[in-house]
């Protein structure tokens, strides 16, 4: 039987707690009275995923069954979430493969010939052929790649279509093929409450011209939080765009939710509550920790990149965007929601090795900030876990390392932009256009596997809400040079960090440790 997430109070019986710090883990002894928010245990996955998919397609919400939407001679486009989901990548067969195969089976039965598959990567890097093959399976890859299985190209002017502007003056410009199709099927994975809904088509298949209306400092500051769509300006903008897109395009949404099985055996101790660790868990932890401490960086990366999550699929729903997404959010909350009473002075998080933008790559300093302050800080509904003016303590080594292949504009952003200012509004005003329109970055985005030139700006804006809310940000075990460049401070130990934060939160602050991953969404009352 699964158990809900819960809030632990550290007392003299509490063993040291596991904290992620990049490609390592540590055991940390937290001060007595520290509040620890644990994610709920995994819900059971569906026994018959293929059956659930078929049922969802045949009995959709707010839409006719999929087979009735398919006919010979139609233009069918299937878009799907890119490699940024889920984290870590799930064991094959990926649920996207199962769904796309089911959709294609029905399309084949209906005699549809004109089919195009598009990875909805927006301004993310393109997926490599190997990644596409892993995501969709060998049959689909062999049938459609390279002509009819492609990455969305947000800089291909010929293949973008401007659908109009919303009543707020927001440009809606998306992939032309998707916009001109008789039916657009979107296949989603909802790992957190931020994903899915109108965030899929109007964002995943959009251009910079469209994205800049919500991926900006003003919107991010008014998104409280990203994980709480009704209170998120980002989602509000996406919804307005989605309404406009729906006026032009017939969309059939298929959304899925996953459980909390984020780590494969034998790494299950990472998701178990520490006082329940068996002797085997303790031995594994010792071996893993010692091994990671001793291993060269390259080996560590290989170990972590080889991790595939044995996620279970907890729900599949299909049909019109809004009713489908409402059900999806209910299922996400069923898995992740943890009730928490009140805010604390200090929020502690361990930043793990993988984020949405460094799959098979390096978690550079900006992405580490984004993961900690953009994602973990925002894992709340209602109010943040930390009070306004409080302190956030993050664990990560934050090495001065970048992937030149995947993140070329990040290097310049870090060296040039952050050296001049760390204020999101200032750098947005002064530098964003230059990076967004830089021909070299655009070339690398279109032809190599680079994130778009403007992407590091978006990652920096992602932390804007946290930066605005917090009085102090301290990184434990980090390279002082990198965190100083980002305008933060570094400490060697938690005790030092608390001492450094005492000027902001006093000598005896209340502390909350968000024990993640897997994800917990704190419902702060």
């Amino acid at each position: 039987m699964t158990r809900p997430g819960f809030v632990l109070e550290v007392d003299e019986r509490t063993p040291p707690l596991l904290v992620h710090e990049g490609e390592k883990v540590r055991l940390e002894t937290f001060p007595l009275g520290t509040r620890v928010v644990y994610p709920p245990e995994s819900l059971p996955g569906l026994h018959d995923v293929d059956g659930a998919i078929r049922s969802a397609l045949l009995d959709p919400h707010g839409s006719d069954p999929l087979p009735t939407l398919l006919w010979p001679g139609m233009r069918l486009t299937i878009a799907f979430d890119d490699i940024s989901l889920p984290l870590p990548p799930m064991q094959t067969p990926d649920v996207r493969q199962r769904i796309v195969e089911a959709v294609l089976t029905m399309a084949a039965a209906a005699g549809v010939d004109d089919v195009q598959l598009v990875a909805a990567n927006a301004l993310h890097r393109r997926m490599t052929p190997a990644e596409l093959r892993r995501c969709l399976g060998e049959r689909i890859f062999r049938s459609f790649f390279p002509d009819a299985l492609t990455n969305h190209d947000a800089e291909d002017r010929d293949n973008l279509l401007h659908l109009g502007t919303t009543d707020h003056g927001e440009d809606v410009e998306i992939n032309r093929r998707a916009a001109e199709s008789d039916l657009l099927v979107y296949v989603n994975i909802n790992l957190v409450a931020m994903d899915g809904g109108h965030k899929s088509v109007p964002i995943g298949l959009a251009s910079y011209k469209s994205l800049r209306h919500h991926h900006n400092t003003h919107t991010m500051l008014h998104s409280k939080s990203y994980m709480d769509p009704p209170r998120s300006a980002l989602h509000g903008s996406a919804a307005r765009m989605g309404v406009l897109v729906n006026e032009h395009v017939k969309i059939f949404h298929i959304e899925t939710t996953l459980n909390n099985d984020a780590f494969p055996s034998p790494y299950r101790f990472l998701t178990r509550r520490e006082w329940e660790w068996s002797a085997k868990d303790q031995a594994t932890m010792l071996a893993v920790k010692r091994g990671l401490d001793l291993a060269p960086a390259r080996v560590r990366s290989r170990i972590f990149r080889s991790m595939e999550a044995p996620y279970g699929v907890t729900s599949v729903q299909a049909g019109a965007t809004d009713p489908v997404h409402e059900l999806t959010l209910q299922n996400v909350h069923r898995q992740q929601l943890v009730e928490v009473q009140g805010q604390s002075d200090v929020l502690v998080v361990g930043v793990p090795y993988v984020g949405p933008y460094n799959v098979n790559s390096t978690l550079n300093p900006i992405l580490a900030m984004c993961l900690g302050m953009g994602y973990f800080f925002n894992m709340y509904r209602g109010r943040p876990l930390v009070r306004p003016g409080g302190a956030m303590i993050l664990y990560h080594p934050v090495p001065w390392e970048f992937s030149q292949l995947h993140h070329p504009s990040y290097v310049d952003f870090f060296e040039e932009v952050l050296a001049e200012s760390t204020d999101p509004a200032t750098i947005e005003k002064k530098f964003e256009q230059q990076y967004a329109t830089d021909p070299w970055y655009i070339h690398l985005y279109r032809t190599s596997y680079a994130y778009h030139g403007v992407h590091p700006f978006y990652m920096w804006y992602w932390g804007a809400h946290a930066m605005d809310h917090l009085g102090d940000v301290i990184w434990v075990g980090a390279d002082p040079r990198t965190v100083e460049r980002m305008g933060f401070r570094s400490a060697s130990t938690l005790q030092d960090a608390l001492q450094m934060a005492s000027g902001t939160v006093g000598q005896s602050p209340s502390i909350t440790y968000l024990h993640s991953p897997p994800f917990a969404l704190a419902d702060v009352r």
Binding site: R3, F6, V7, L8, E9, V10, D11, E12, R13, T14, P15, P16, L27, T29, L32, R273, E274, W275, W277, Q282, M285, L286, K289, R290, D293, Q495, L498, Q499, S502, Q507, S508
Partner: protein, 307 residues
């Protein structure tokens, strides 16, 4: 080096060789509550009392006094008092219970039992038998439970009870909040409370050590005048009075009796919670050497106990 540290952390956190504890706030999720019912009545039979008296007098007291230099004050407060009573003391070391037991006058020591954490001292049979035999402990649940009635019964049958109201040893040498159990006990049984202040036991044997540090550190035990609860008094108010009295005794021990009385009258007794500072500074202050001029540091262990 690092491996050794990892192994040490794990062994401490998971109490290798002993029952793993579940954090109190996680207890509702414990699959099956472990019964800590441990019979202790046998330890209060005349034979056991006689045996324990010999053990404490000829074994425990020389041992304790050979490891720390003990100075005892204020025992005259007990002279005119009839038992039973509740002794309450600040708590920052495993030395505290032996210190009180070996400094109590014989007639009190014979009839005093010690409330000990059920989850710590009664988690295995050898430990439970050992502590019950040597210190006449009885189990008490730190987070509530039905052991409170046992303590009242003991008081009703003439046994005095030593309670450390903080519930656990101090992590930094300073006194924490007092829980309400000791006050409730005194109110329920209608018995006076004798406050006890212990100074120096933290630097002599802080948390994490299983034996006193070398060098025979000075330790002071100071008994205060009994505090009489008023029937119907709010346990919280009585607890506050008791904590204030322990604070005054600590102040008295660090300075002088009259000055401490004056500060107490003015509400200016230094807080036993210590300074508002970072942990290391608090530990630093708590481990400052005691004034040693009143302690004969080289006194023979066989004679120091008779002070």
């Amino acid at each position: 080096m690092s491996l050794r540290r990892d192994v040490r952390d794990v062994s401490r956190g998971w109490r290798w060789g002993r029952t793993q504890l579940v954090p109190a706030s996680a207890e509702p999720h414990r699959p099956a509550p472990v019964s800590r019912a441990f019979p202790t009545a046998w330890a209060r039979t005349p034979a056991a009392v006689a045996l324990r008296g010999a053990v404490q007098r000829f074994g425990l007291r020389p041992l304790v006094h050979s490891q720390v230099a003990v100075e005892v004050n204020g025992r005259e407060a007990l002279d005119a008092l009839r038992g039973p009573v509740v002794f309450v003391a600040n708590h920052c070391s495993h030395l505290d219970a032996p210190l009180v037991l070996t400094t109590l006058p014989e007639r009190w020591r014979r009839n005093t039992v010690v409330a000990a954490a059920a989850d710590y001292f009664f988690d295995t049979w050898p430990r439970a038998v050992g502590s019950t035999m040597a210190f006449s402990t009885f189990p008490i649940e730190r987070r509530g439970g039905d052991s409170g009635s046992q303590a009242v019964d003991l008081l009703f049958t003439g046994w005095s009870v030593l309670v450390f109201p903080e519930g656990t040893r101090s992590a930094d040498g300073w006194t924490g909040e007092f829980r309400l159990g000791a006050a409730r006990l005194a109110l329920d049984a209608g018995v006076p409370v004798v406050p006890v202040a212990i100074r120096g036991s933290f630097p002599a044997m802080p948390r994490g050590r299983s034996w006193p540090v070398p060098g025979r550190r000075p330790v002071r035990v100071r008994y205060g005048m009994p505090v009489h609860p008023v029937r119907g008094e709010d346990p919280a108010l009585l607890t506050e009075r008791l904590r204030g009295e322990v604070a005054r005794l600590l102040d008295e021990d660090a300075t002088d009796w009259y000055g401490a009385l004056r500060r107490s009258a003015e509400g200016a007794t230094p807080s036993p919670a210590g300074p508002e500072a970072s942990r290391w500074r608090r530990v630093w202050a708590a481990t400052e050497p005691l004034e040693v001029d009143r302690v004969a540091a080289r006194r023979s262990p066989w004679r120091s106990g008779r002070r």
